[in-house]
């Protein structure tokens, strides 16, 4: 009975999964892109609606309302004299009218969604249409990061609740004693389900019976053929982006009374599961998949109330795990049967040159780091160690994404697992500081051992997530790993029976001592987290990790990684054990992520799951791409650029308005620009190439020839 009621209750969230899933299908059929930013489009629309309707949330945030915010931000921060001049560099806010009626707000909101859809098409996916799959995935992840950050910049705090409108509200009396089950069902639930079915049917009919739908389906089957018949595939793609985005906006608005706008960002995970049920091509399949997934997850949640349900499976974990389960099952059973298959050559992969003179480079880096550390200048300590942590995390991405070409979005979460397991293993139920309110129970392992435990946990989990990569690849792997992030967070990190109170309270790591040396960042005398021995420890670990990755790239293993990235079929024919080599890559990358987790556990006065949120992880990916995903220097540069890193902190110290959200928004843009312009090679290779060209031109040799080469290679690419 509980389960049956759970099924009906789940139709509410199922309807939004269904509509978002249908939108994903439409975008995919129109342009061949799986849009990771789809939930963020819904979130931006929901914010827009809420702002127009002026419904301040429980925190009372919100101005007089009736304004819309265009999906960008004023790029020039308010510094110095510019601030005094009150120059508005770029119009962002437009006031429509105070207290607009619901129908007008709805039209404006959907127009905003359509506008975002057009922008995505013209600024991102159209330029990327002939790029490798990796670049398209990165582009949509960049949009996701950008939209989420811009929403934060434009709409402020996301803690806003909306009572909804019309039948989609949270204020109506619930349906009491729902079909004799003695339980109350929110009145909006059946309306949501019906809305999903009607809109889904409408979309299906549009693609089934109109000339536009026919043309889209033709272009989906065979783009060249459709062109010959006189349809412009790019025009069709643009139109499909608009329809997809409008559906996302609609879904966000009608579901807003049940959630907060920011939550919608990650609804893309469940929406992807729904779209996969429809094989990414069937709208009815996606609608059914979404409703089914909502019901399935809700039944799982209901099941947790039974007595026989094990304690170690928390409610949130079950809800987050349902889409992962669906994604993995669908990809496993419907994915390509044979594990080894040639990839279609869509543009070239970013080059991955071996680093020259790494010992010198790392030496210089270490000296600079030492100079900046507390030993000499005290001000930068925390920023410096944050940079080192980010570099370490990004090295793990360089190995897995850059060298091996496996698009895994989950590595930052693995660092989190390492941190949490370390704290749990090192704890012994005694307060670390007198001021701590909670205690964490645990076996109280001494520290190198506890740290090892954390790293091993990260590696094991990384290998587990790598298993699907033996069968699926590219964008599908990105889907699986994105779903895994949410599942790991809710299933493991916030799991009280598994993680102990470490899952909820905020304690520093007890006794971070390695062989008698205290290496934690917490200075017991001053209660500041800038103890120099930790800085030294972090510098040593990061430098060794950097050399490790350089040598991996220069050795037999690195060559085999690149071979697999390039062509798995050929690698197998050349005697490379593709499965084992991939697992090695996942293992090495997770090991590095685990090390980053250890540093975080020692650095932070408290470790929370928020620190490992999916968006921090996506920002890490964005900035290492910007720095250069295929080189160690890319990781170093990315670590300095990312929010909290040296360069970004320098920026926020000197220019007002450079916040984390600002940096993420810039990172999102940088990610997209990088994917379009340099085929993802990033700043480090761009600088190296420019430097080489400069040297060559100063010597006055070969420049002409180089230039000719470049022209030839561009021509090749455009062919």
């Amino acid at each position: 009975m509980e389960l049956l009621f759970g099924l009906f209750a789940g139709l509410a969230s199922g309807s939004v999964f269904a509509l978002l899933g249908a939108g994903l299908v439409i975008a995919y059929r129109g342009s061949g892109v799986i849009n990771f930013a789809h939930g963020s489009v819904a979130a931006y629309a929901a914010f827009t609606w809420d702002e127009l309707r002026d419904m301040p949330g429980p925190t009372g945030i919100g101005n007089e309302g009736g304004s819309i915010y265009l999906p960008w931000f004023d790029p020039i921060p308010e510094w110095g004299f510019l601030k005094a001049l009150h120059i508005n560099n770029l119009p962002v806010e437009i006031h429509i009218m105070t207290d607009p009626p619901a129908w007008l707000a709805m039209i404006i909101t959907l127009m905003m969604s359509a506008f975002i859809g057009l922008l995505m098409h013209f600024l991102v996916f159209r330029p990327l249409r002939n790029s490798p799959m990796l670049a398209k995935v990165v582009g949509s992840v960049g949009i996701m990061l950008y939209l989420q950050a811009v929403a934060l910049l434009n709409f402020g705090n996301s803690n806003r609740a909306d009572d909804g409108f019309w039948v989609f509200n949270s204020t109506s009396e619930p349906i009491t004693n729902f079909i004799g089950m003695d339980k109350n069902l929110p009145r909006s639930t059946p309306y949501l389900a019906v809305a999903a079915l009607i809109i889904g049917f409408g979309a299906w009919a549009l693609y089934r019976y109109t000339r536009f739908g026919l043309a889209t389906r033709a272009a989906d089957e065979n783009e060249k053929g459709a062109t010959l018949l006189g349809y412009s595939p790019q025009f069709l793609a643009g139109l499909n982006w608009v329809i997809s985005s409008v559906l996302a906006g609609l879904a966000g608005v009608i579901f807003l009374h049940k959630t907060m706008p920011n939550q919608l960002n990650l609804y893309v995970v469940s929406a992807l599961a729904a779209a996969l049920v429809g094989s990414l091509t069937s709208i009815p399949g996606a609608i059914a998949g979404g409703l089914g997934l909502g019901a399935f997850a809700s039944m799982g949640v209901s099941a947790t109330s039974y007595e026989w349900w094990p304690d170690w499976l928390p409610v949130d974990g079950v809800r987050a795990f349902a889409p992962v389960l669906v994604v993995i099952l669908v990809l496993y059973f419907r994915g390509h049967k044979l594990p080894i298959r040639g990839t279609v050559g869509l543009g070239r992969q970013p080059r991955a040159p071996a680093t020259k003179h790494p010992v010198v480079g790392v030496g210089v880096g270490v000296v600079i780091a030492l100079v900046m550390s507390n030993i000499f200048i005290s001000k930068w300590e925390s920023t410096l160690t944050m940079t080192l942590v980010a570099i370490l995390a990004m090295l793990s991405l360089v190995v897995l994404l850059g060298f091996l070409g496996q698009i895994s979005l989950v590595q930052w979460t693995l660092a989190g697992i390492s941190s949490f397991v370390l704290i749990r293993l090192a704890s012994d139920g005694v307060k670390v500081r007198p001021m701590d309110f909670f205690v964490v129970t645990g076996p109280g392992w001494p520290d190198p051992l506890a740290a090892l435990g954390g790293v091993v946990a990260a590696v094991l989990l990384g290998l587990l997530i790598g298993i699907p990569a033996l069968r699926i690849r590219g964008v599908q792997l990105a889907v699986v790993t994105l779903a895994s992030i949410v599942a790991i967070e809710d299933l493991l990190m916030r799991n009280r029976p598994v993680m102990g109170t470490a899952a909820h309270t905020m304690n520093p790591t007890p006794k971070p001592e390695w062989f008698g040396q205290y290496v934690g960042a917490l200075d017991e005398n001053s209660n500041q987290t800038d103890y120099w021995k930790f800085t030294l420890f972090a510098i040593i670990v990061t430098a060794l990790a950097g050399l490790f990755v350089v040598n991996l790239r220069r050795g037999v293993t690195g060559r085999r990684f690149l071979a697999i990235r390039s062509n798995e079929r050929a690698a197998a024919a050349a005697g490379v054990n593709v499965a084992r080599t991939k697992m090695l890559g996942f293992g090495v990358s997770s090991f590095l992520a685990g090390l980053a987790g250890v540093l975080i556990a020692y650095k932070m006065p408290m470790v929370t799951s928020e620190f490992f949120s999916p968006f921090v992880g996506l920002a890490m990916i964005a900035f290492v791409y910007l720095g250069g995903i295929t080189t160690v220097w890319g990781a170093v540069l990315g670590g300095m650029l990312v929010g909290g890193g040296l360069l970004s902190e320098f920026g926020s110290l000197h220019f007002e308005g450079i916040t984390q959200a600002y940096i993420n928004a810039v990172g999102g843009i940088g990610l997209i620009v990088n994917a379009i312009l340099t085929s993802g090679e990033g700043i480090s290779l761009l600088v190296t190439n420019q430097a080489k060209a400069l040297v060559a031109s100063m010597r006055g040799t070969d420049t002409q020839e180089n230039h000719a080469d470049e022209i030839v290679s561009t021509e090749k690419e455009s062919v």
């Binding site: 220069r554 050795g555 085999r560 062509n567 050929a570 197998a572 490379v576």
Partner: protein
Amino acid sequence: MSNLLETKDLTVTFGGLNANDHVDIEVTQGSFVGLIGPNGAGKTTFIDAITGFVPTSAGSAIFNGHDLSELKPHERAQLGLVRTFQSLELFEDLSVRDNLLVAAHPTSWYTLLLDVLRMRQSNDEIEKRIEWALEVAGLTGLEEELPTDLPHGQRKLVGVARALAAQPNLVLLDEPAAGLDTAESNALGGHLRGLLDHDVTVFLIDHDMGLVLSVCDYIYVMDFGKIIAAGTPEEVRTNPEVVAAYLGEEAGEAQARSAEELRGMSDTAGE
């Protein structure tokens, strides 16, 4: 001479179609065997099947005493059964030399450790093998080029060189001469003959009839997935069924003229 490769009733089915239909082929150690047939006859499928890239539905394949049926593609390659691809399939971001090194280096569980500690993993034998492979393929001097910067014919030869770098007992060449002009094709044929002196047995598929007829000791002819004839080049050249399969005419009628033509082709190649 023992059989290096032996297939019995090897059958590959795609849907309802038998792409390979009870194929019996024997390749003796130290020989140079060819497989010819019209487009779509199932020649590449045969290579795919014995190297593990498509599943077989019936029959067996024994290589050097090993039953291949349970082995994965890389395991077959490690046994010395190495192939090239008709469709290039190179590591496009790696230099020619690195393409070869991927195939040449053995790996073990501690390879990563050796890499990280910068221990030397090449030895003279590997270096020599790579030089030799480059020379056979006529790529000496192009080691540092990227495959994408080479003309199509040479790219194909990078595939051949990579197969040779993997230390093969038997190398299966899928149209290595496609894209080469007649002179290059002849030079390649000469180099390939030279492989026999290095204990490499060769199995060659090619459309260049002149090449196949002039270098092979023994030739199989496939049509519609079946072996329709086998024999020395002389026997195959005059076999009426082969002529019919190739020219699609009544075997009896045009036999004499076609045989003459084929002979002419091989003579030109031999000049």
